[in-house]
C-alpha cells in the first residue's frame, strides 16, 4: 500500500477520534497536533501500526509561543517512514507553568539528547527521562535561553563598557 497523507490522517482519526486535530499540509508535509498526555500513545501507534511504521525520529525540538495562553510551549516531532519515504510533523503543546511531557526515550534512543537539548533551552521537563540535565549550557544556568522573554542584546546599545569590542569605555 502506498502511504499518503490522507491515509495517515484517516488512520489517526480512526484511532484517536477528535483528539488529534489541526491537520495541515504546509509544503506537502502532513502536520497535526494532539493533547500532550497522548504523545506517547500517538508515537507508539505511528511506530507499531503495520501500515504506518514511522520508526525513524528525525528531529525533536521545542518552540515557545508566548502569546498562546495555556499552550505556550510546543514540542515538535519530525518522524520519517524510511521504507515508504514519507515524513510527518507532530506537535504537542504544554502550559509554561507546568511544562511536563512524557519522554520518548523508551521508543527512540535518539530522543535522549534531543530531549535534553529541548529541556536545556526551553525548560520542558520530560517525565521518565533517564538523565534529564543540561547538555549545551552550563549546569549552573538558572533560565532557559530560547524562551522569548530573553531577547538578544540590542546591538546598538552604548551604555555597556566593552572597550574590546568598540563600545562604551574611553573610545566612544
Amino acid at each position: 500500500m502506498i502511504l499518503t497523507n490522507e491515509i495517515i490522517q484517516q488512520k489517526l482519526i480512526e484511532k484517536f477520534g477528535n483528539q488529534v486535530s489541526g491537520f495541515d499540509e504546509p509544503y506537502g508535509l502532513l502536520s497535526f497536533e494532539a493533547p500532550k498526555e497522548l504523545n506517547l500513545k500517538v508515537l507508539q501507534f505511528l511506530y507499531d501500526d503495520a501500515d504506518l511504521q514511522f520508526q525513524f525520529l528525525t528531529d525533536l525540538t521545542g518552540v515557545h509561543y508566548p502569546h498562546q495562553i495555556e499552550r505556550e510551549l510546543a514540542v515538535v516531532y519530525h518522524l520519517h517512514n524510511l521504507k515508504q519515504n514519507i515524513r510527518l510533523r507532530f506537535k504537542i503543546y504544554t502550559a509554561i507553568e507546568a511544562p511536563e511531557v512524557f519522554t520518548a526515550t523508551q521508543l527512540f534512543s535518539t530522543a535522549n539528547w534531543m530531549e535534553r537539548e529541548t529541556f536545556d533551552f526551553f525548560g520542558i521537563k520530560f517525565i521518565g527521562h533517564p538523565n534529564l540535565k543540561r547538555i549545551l549550557n552550563v549546569d549552573e544556568m538558572d533560565y532557559f535561553p530560547l524562551r522569548k522573554e530573553y531577547p538578544l542584546e540590542d546591538q546598538t546599545r552604548i551604555d555597556k563598557d566593552d572597550e574590546m569590542f568598540g563600545r562604551g569605555g574611553t573610545n566612544s
Partner: protein, 410 residues
C-alpha cells in the same frame, strides 16, 4: 604524647577499593580532534563506561538566528560543520528557497552540485585521513591535504573565502564562476582520482590498518536507526538511506550515482563507505561539469534566479537604477518581510541528514530556527559503541564517526 599526625594524601573514600580507573579524555586532547570531553571508566585498557560532555563551543546559533534576516544567517551555518561549510550554506539557501517558493534555474542547481560534492570530498578526505592518523599512519593525511587545498582554492575562486565560505546567495550565486574556477575544477577532476587511488593503495588493504579497524566500533542497522544515524555512518550499517536519492533537491535526480553501503557498521565499513562516496562524488562532479559546459550563449550566463526581493542587484544597477537601489537598501537593512510558514528541509551533508526547521511568523527574521545536526544526534551512541572496547579503538571510533565540534554544539 604527641597526637598522631596524618600527613599522607587523603584519597576520596572508596578509591582504594575501586577496581577501575577514571580518565578524562578532552576537552582539549589531540586525539579528540575538537573540543569535547569524555569521562572514561577503564578496566585496564578496556572501556567500561563513558560519559560525554559537550557544549564547550556552544554559540547559541538558534537564538542569534531569531534576530537576523535570512541572508545574514548564512555565515552562521558556515560554522556548523566547518569541514564542509558550502554544504551547510547550500542547505540553508535551499530551505529559504523552499519557504519563499523560489525556483532556481538548472544551471544554478548544477553549479551548486559541483560545489556541494567538492565539499563532500573535502569532508570525507579529512575524516578518512584522520582515521588513518589515529591508527598510526600520518603519511596519507599529509599527502591528501594538498588536494583539499585545491578544493579550497576552488571555493576561493567562486566566493572569495576558504574555510567559512558563505558561498552562494538565496536564489543562486553572488557571481558567475570564472574561467579560473572551471580550470581548477578541471585540474581537480584530472589529478584527484590518481591521488585517491594512491591513498587507497596505502590504506585499504593494509594489514595493520584493517586489523585496527575491522570489528571495532560496530553497530547494527536496527540500533543505528533507533539512534537516528544518517549519512555514511548509517549506510555503513547497511541501510541505503541517502537524502539525495530519497528526497532529491537541487536537481540530484538528473544524476547517475550509486549509494555505497556496508554491512557491519564498524570503523572499517565507515571508512570504506566514505572512500566509495568520494568516487561517486567525483563522478557526480564530472557529470555536473559536462552539463554546465553544455549551456551556451545567454544560458551560460545564468547564475541566479530572478528574485529581486532577496537577491542583491549588481553594483552598477544600484548606482544607476532606482528599483535596484530600493531593493539593495531593503535587503541590506533586512527590511523584507518573509512570508508566514513552517518548513523543514534537509540535505545530505557530509555527516548525514542536515535539517533546517524554520518557522516564520511573517516578520523580517525567523521566529524559530532549529538545526538538525547529524553529529549531535549520533554522538550519543558513542557510549554504546565503545562499551567493552580498547581505549585505542575508542579513539578510532571517535574519528571514524566524523565528529565535528562546531556541528555538535551549534
Amino acid at each position: 604524647m604527641l597526637e598522631k599526625v596524618h600527613n599522607h594524601i587523603s584519597l576520596p573514600e572508596g578509591s582504594i577499593e575501586k577496581q577501575t580507573t577514571t580518565i578524562n579524555l578532552g576537552p582539549t586532547h589531540p586525539a579528540t580532534h575538537g573540543v569535547m570531553q569524555n569521562i572514561l571508566e577503564l578496566d585496564g585498557e578496556r572501556v567500561v563506561s563513558s560519559e560525554q560532555t559537550i557544549g564547550y563551543i556552544h554559540r547559541a546559533f538558534e537564538k542569534l538566528a531569531e534576530r537576523r534576516p535570512l541572508y545574514q544567517i548564512t555565515p552562521i551555518t558556515d560554522r556548523l560543520n566547518y569541514c564542509s561549510s558550502p554544504l551547510n550554506n547550500m542547505g540553508w539557501h535551499l530551505t529559504c528557497e523552499k519557504l519563499l517558493k523560489i525556483e532556481t534555474p538548472k544551471r544554478v542547481d548544477y553549479l551548486r552540485i559541483i560545489i556541494m560534492e567538492l565539499a563532500r570530498i573535502a569532508d570525507h578526505l579529512i575524516c578518512n585521513s584522520i582515521v588513518a592518523v589515529d591508527a598510526g599512519a600520518f603519511t596519507g593525511f599529509v599527502y591528501v591535504m594538498q588536494y583539499r587545498e585545491l578544493i579550497y582554492e576552488i571555493y576561493e575562486e567562486v566566493c572569495g573565502s576558504r574555510l567559512t565560505t558563505n558561498i552562494g546567495r538565496i536564489g543562486g550565486f553572488e557571481r558567475n564562476f570564472s574561467n579560473t574556477a572551471f580550470e581548477k575544477i578541471e585540474k581537480f577532476l584530472r589529478e584527484y582520482p590518481k591521488v585517491l587511488k594512491e591513498f587507497e593503495t596505502l590504506m585499504t588493504r593494509n594489514r595493520i590498518f584493517m586489523d585496527r579497524l575491522q570489528g571495532t566500533g560496530g553497530i547494527s542497522a536496527e540500533r543505528a536507526l533507533n539512534y537516528g544515524f544518517t549519512g555514511p555512518n548509517l549506510r555503513a550499517a547497511g541501510v541505503d538511506y541517502d537524502v539525495r536519492v530519497q528526497n532529491p533537491y537541487s536537481s540530484y535526480q538528473d544524476f547517475d550515482f550509486k549509494i555505497p553501503i556496508g554491512n557491519t557498521g564498524d570503523n572499517y565499513d565507515r571508512f570504506q563507505v566514505r572512500e566509495e562516496e568520494m568516487w561517486q562524488s567525483l563522478s557526480i562532479i564530472n557529470q555536473a561539469y559536462q552539463k554546465v559546459q553544455a549551456f551556451k550563449g545567454a544560458d551560460a550566463e545564468i547564475f541566479h534566479a530572478d528574485v529581486p526581493e532577496y537577491y542583491l542587484p549588481t553594483k552598477e544597477d544600484v548606482y544607476t537604477k532606482m528599483e535596484a537601489l530600493i531593493w539593495h537598501f531593503k535587503i541590506i537593512m533586512g527590511e523584507t518581510d518573509i512570508p508566514k510558514g513552517e518548513v523543514y528541509h534537509s540535505i545530505e551533508a557530509a555527516n548525514g541528514e542536515l535539517g533546517y526547521y524554520l518557522i516564520s511568523d511573517g516578520g523580517r527574521t525567523p521566529f524559530r530556527l532549529h538545526f538538525r545536526r547529524p553529529c549531535f544526534i549520533y554522538y550519543q551512541a558513542y557510549s554504546e559503541l565503545t562499551k567493552g572496547a580498547m581505549l585505542s579503538d575508542a579513539i578510532i571510533t571517535m574519528s571514524s564517526l566524523n565528529l565535528i565540534a562546531g556541528e555538535l554544539d551549534a
